[in-house]
């Protein structure tokens, strides 16, 4: 195990100059035609950052509009803003976020492989993603879409006057990017593990991405078919979902949520993976209940396919369907709860330090727990009848997606930043950002639970005056949150050029990715590593450099 080699000089050459950032040239062409999983991960990181700021800008305008009850935008502008926010954040940030950036970069490193199984497909996946993203931006620029990210029929197919088909085409295309990535991860995990890297020696991050990939490959085609059918109905007036043409609007909801509920797990499972890496490292202890954590991921990815109609308790499904889907939704809460208990138990009798990645990870556990518990409220049939389609739902899924997934993304970004860039960032700025995000997030979204129970409905450009106070809290929180999200942009940007050199293993962590230099060489390892131990073999005593 290497010790942290942190030097004070910033102009010192990278330890072992051979690394993926310079090997193979630094021309634009060498980047755009690269087949190196690490370079593709960088391409993805830059692109999803762009989309994060586009979606974030829309969120800022939404919160600005909601400061006063009448609002400041016209209804059509507001409806386009929340649709843009949803489509961009779900399909162009959250779905690809951790898998396509950290998953791409780390899975081969963690299993001791030279690359993913299909490097060309990996690059194609990025090009499809970019094509889809540009198509979505184009639809926004020429006039936007007002259907909401859920594209409910018959509104989307027959009544909306936005550029619905373009937006559908964008999401359709993005789906293929997901499928290719999922396929690549599954094959890579099965076929390319280093000698001695048995399934139970895999880091949980790899397991989580494997579970995610199963969902990507199995669920995404259903989304593609559904969106294509909406386009067919809209363009050719073939009756599929519109009852006026002989179609069934609930059919759309069943098909849409058959993808979109598992997609929630596409968005959160990789986050579980990141947290399962970070917590043991900064608690200096093996992960508590490794097998339970692993199998709860797999369980979630399977049961996740059978809970979709809990989005439809008031949509007109039968009583029996409601009873069954509610029960299954309670069942799937159990493996998520198991994970939270295991992370907490990992802290027990550890040697805990509070570096930025750990602060983000602890923030994740807190926010995810609140998000998960309020999920139980919504899985509850009678309670759901009162709060579905209100701000209670908005608050709940932002706790999971933003409080959970984005916090996990930042935890991972800070944890592996030294590995990816070979540089360290300013620790205190990172800690301040982590705290701002945690408090800003709670101030933004906790009032929305109250608003929802009081009866403020979703997707309202204006609202009754009695809801204003809680909305002002929420918008104030959003500005704190915005500062928290912009800060890393500066201190990480600074670190790229001026940050201290990180050694191969600044956190004294155990994974294979830390055993090669930072940044890693193009082929990852000089010699294929042989694995002899399970993951997370942190020593019971803190190593000297940690104190």
């Amino acid at each position: 195990m290497t010790t942290a080699t942190v030097t004070g000089k910033t102009d010192e050459p990278v330890v072992g100059t051979r690394n993926y950032l310079t090997e193979g040239g630094v021309t634009l062409r060498s980047w755009l035609l690269t087949r190196d999983h690490k370079r593709i991960a960088i391409l993805y990181t830059l692109s999803i950052t762009l989309f994060f700021f586009v979606g974030g800008a829309a969120a800022t305008l939404i919160r600005l509009n909601l400061v006063t009850p009448p609002g400041i935008f016209t209804p059509d502008v507001y409806n386009r803003l929340f649709t843009l926010h949803g489509i961009v954040m779900v399909w162009f940030f959250l779905i690809p976020s951790i898998p396509n950036t950290m998953g791409n970069f780390l899975i081969p490193l963690m299993i001791g492989a030279k690359d993913l199984a299909f490097p060309r497909l990996n690059l194609l996946s990025w090009y499809l993603y970019m094509a889809a993203g540009l198509l979505a931006l184009f639809a926004i620029v020429i006039g936007g879409v007002d259907t909401g990210w859920t594209f409910y029929t018959p509104f989307s197919s027959m009544y909306s006057n936005g550029y619905v088909v373009l937006a559908l085409a964008a999401v359709f295309t993005a789906g293929f990017s997901s499928i290719l990535t999922g396929l690549n991860f599954i094959v890579t995990t099965h076929r390319m593990r280093a000698p001695g890297m048995t399934w139970y020696r895999l880091p949980v991050f790899v397991w989580s991405n494997y579970a995610t990939s199963i969902i990507m490959v199995l669920a995404t085609p259903v989304l593609a078919i559904t969106l294509a059918l909406v386009a067919v109905e809209r363009l050719l007036q073939v009756g599929i979902f519109d009852p006026a043409l002989g179609g069934d609007p609930l059919l759309f909801q069943h098909l849409f949520w058959f993808y979109s509920h598992p997609a929630v797990y596409i968005m959160i499972l990789p986050g579980f993976g990141v947290i399962s890496e970070v917590v043991p490292c900064f608690a200096r202890k093996p992960l508590f209940g490794y097998k339970f954590v692993v199998w709860s991921s797999i369980t979630i990815s399977v049961i996740g396919f059978f809970v979709w109609a809990h989005h439809m308790f008031v949509a007109g499904i039968s009583l029996y369907a409601g009873l069954v889907f509610s029960l299954l939704s309670y069942v799937i809460a159990v493996p998520s709860a198991i994970k939270v208990f295991n992370w907490t138990a990992t802290l027990h009798k550890g040697w805990i330090s509070f570096d930025a990645p750990m602060l983000y990870a602890l923030g994740f556990i807190g926010l995810f727990t609140i998000g998960g518990l309020t999920g139980l409220f919504l899985a509850n049939l009678a309670f759901d009848v009162h709060v579905t389609d209100t701000y209670f739902v908005v608050a709940h899924f932002h706790y999971i997606m933003v409080g959970g997934m984005v916090s996990a993304y930042f935890a991972g970004l800070h944890y592996w930043w030294p590995k990816v860039t070979g540089r360290l960032y300013h620790e205190w700025w990172a800690r301040i950002a982590a705290l701002l995000i945690f408090f800003g997030f709670n101030l933004t979204f906790f009032p929305q639970f109250i608003l929802g129970y009081l009866g403020m409905q979703r997707r309202y450009f204006s609202y009754a005056p009695e809801f204003q106070l809680w909305n002002i809290f929420s918008s104030a929180g959003a500005s704190v949150l915005a500062v928290g999200y912009v800060l890393p942009f500066f201190y990480l940007g600074w670190s790229l050029f001026r940050g201290q050199r990180a050694g191969a293993n600044p956190w004294a962590a155990t994974g294979l990715e830390w055993q090669t230099s930072s940044p890693p060489p193009t082929h990852n390892f000089d010699r294929t590593p042989t694995v002899t131990r399970p993951p997370y073999q942190y020593r019971p005593e803190p190593e000297p450099q940690d104190v």
Partner: protein
């Protein structure tokens, strides 16, 4: 500016039950949250890297602990599940004496028709203490009829009848919202539910002008659209008589039976070939695209008003007024689907 309000008004019998469920959910999750946060904070302080506290004798075999907390959480979850499911079943079973009110959503207004023919837009007047059953549909896109003070809501889906019922307990005016995004003015599609003393409500009904009742208007439409030509008493066409039909089982061609509820009547007018009554030739033309949602509701109300009558050559049994007649048809429909 709004106040620090935390709970909405509680104005129906269901609302009070729901707030107890809410309290149980908050209690259970508050307990789990305190446990997790408490343990996390305790561990983080006690076992921080530079603390010298004893760390020997760590938890060894983990499966007992795992099984224990898995079982404990699941048991707590199950209890909450049954509680919520019980309430949900109850709000889907309207009492037989509920009064029907018909609601049609359209971009961006709620059109409401009372059985006596009184109409209102974006407001719903109901008497306190009496159960009311809403029959909801939509003329264009999906809407959702939400009354937070009653803790209930239901999507109004084009092409379908959905039902929703409540018993108001407090006189007053409560906001009514559309809760399913339906286009530009979604946020403006709403109004209020006015709960009145029964005597005031009767005065309100009377003050709305004495027009024909829904069923009477339906009867006129029944002749206007030529339905009576085949289904009327004098008809020579072999078509089912509609007297005494509503709320009773209808045997279908090719096997199976279906309860003749709102949905069945509506579908039979628009999609006459979908469920053909056994023994009748499928000769009825479809009226899809010719009859609007308001008129359909009136036709249904008319056929429903025939439920207690007997036709000359009745096919169905004598009107028993049993538990399937009238309003419970909506819940029977829910179960059958």
């Amino acid at each position: 500016m709004g106040s620090m309000q935390i709970l909405p008004a509680t104005a129906s019998s269901h609302a009070a039950d729901m707030d107890w469920l809410f309290a149980a959910l908050v209690g259970t999750s508050g307990f789990i949250l305190l446990l997790v946060f408490g343990l996390m904070i305790t561990f983080c302080v006690r076992y921080r890297a530079n603390s010298k506290v004893e760390r020997g004798n760590r938890l060894g075999r983990t499966w007992r602990l795992e099984a224990a907390w898995t079982a404990a959480t699941f048991a707590a979850f199950l209890a909450l599940y049954f509680w919520g499911a019980d309430l949900y079943i109850r709000i889907h079973r309207p009492p037989p004496d509920a009064t029907d009110v018909y609601v049609v959503g359209k971009q961006w207004m709620w059109k409401i028709e009372h059985a006596g023919g009184q109409r209102e837009i974006d407001s719903l007047h109901v008497p306190v203490g009496r159960p009311v059953r809403l029959v909801l549909t939509s003329q264009d896109v999906i809407h959702d009829f939400a009354i937070p003070a009653f803790r209930i809501r239901q999507d109004a889906v084009p092409g379908r009848y959905e039902t929703l019922w409540f018993t108001p307990t407090e006189v007053g005016e409560y906001p009514l919202y559309c809760a399913e995004f339906c286009g530009t003015y979604h946020a403006r599609m709403g109004g209020s539910v006015v709960v009145m003393e029964p005597s005031d409500f009767q005065r309100w009904l009377d003050g709305q002008g004495a027009g024909p009742s829904l069923a009477q208007e339906g009867e006129a439409l029944f002749r206007q659209y030529g339905c009576s030509g085949c289904h009327g008493a004098a008809s020579t066409v072999h078509a089912p008589r509609l007297e005494g039909l509503f709320g009773r089982p209808v045997p279908l061609e090719g096997g199976g039976t279906v309860i003749a509820d709102d949905r069945y009547i509506r579908d039979s007018i628009l999609l006459p070939r979908s469920e053909i009554a056994a023994g009748y030739p499928p000769v009825m033309p479809s009226f899809a695209g010719q009859i609007g949602e308001d008129e359909l509701l009136k036709l249904v109300a008319y056929i429903k008003s025939l439920a207690d009558r007997t036709a000359g050559n009745t096919e169905a049994g004598p009107p028993a007024g049993g538990k399937q007649a009238g309003p419970p048809a909506g819940s029977a429909e829910k179960d059958a689907r």
